[in-house]
Amino acid sequence: MTNYDITPNGSATPLVRLYDDSLDVIDRDQLQATEKHAVIEGGTPDSDTDGLEPGEIRFRGYWFGSDAETLAVDRLQNGIIDDSSVTQVDVQAVDDAGSNVTSPRNGIYRLTDQLSVRQVSPATPNAWEYDLRLIEV
């Protein structure tokens, strides 16, 4: 299976691993901001890529088990989302042994303000849900 490791850009820690067995479908959107037939001051768009915004990718999934809270709170929430010094992250696909693998999703991404981490039930700290929107750099 292909899992995804997320770390602050240029740093190996904290490391957040998104496990393939509990990852939802990975969405990638890329908007074209130029209006069709619109006249833009200074010139109309003359190529298909004019006005093309960076791609946005969305990772959604779960963590289960005794390390779920560590991944969700210690590493993701406290180490990345709430750390104001972290604005970009590295995404690296890895196999089950933790070895890097090739993936079109590998790269540097900018954090958006749409990042959420949620405890699935107050009855247990061993199940967490995450929803991360990242912008390709």
Binding site: R17, F64, G65, D67, A127
Partner: protein
Amino acid sequence: MSSFDTWRLTLPSGDVFESSTIEQINEQHVPAWLFDGAGNVVAAAEQITGSSGSLKGQIYVGSGAGARIWRCTITQNQGSTDSWGSSSSSDDVTQKIQELGETLATTRIDSTNAATFEWGEYSTAGSKSPQSVVVGEVDLPAELADQPSSFTFTVDLLETKDLTAALHPAP
């Protein structure tokens, strides 16, 4: 013959309920695919250009989704020496029915606090392993008109993962 012919349910509280009178145990695998192409008007195979043969081939992804359920129909007898919670062998049918009902109602059982189901090869004495389960529907009929010396009940046991294990380890 299986190596363990007693039905045994061990609750996380330590309470044990067992019976050597097993009426029926149905193991059911209830599928729930991550993707089954159910939204398509036509079968996936019919949409694939150049495909030949059956047009009924669908696409199913995610064999691990779904549930595995043991639907157990068990009889417990008055006078039985099988472990039955806090009941003694001299307790009557009513006491034993309510012992099970009350214990299940007051015991937290979920994936962080699972029960253990043993029967046949799914046991420490068998070739498989005891199963971690949570309790589904329970039906405890008390048919007391003829002062019966036994009662038969049904209970669904659902296979569960142990949420206390490091299922997703932090590397």
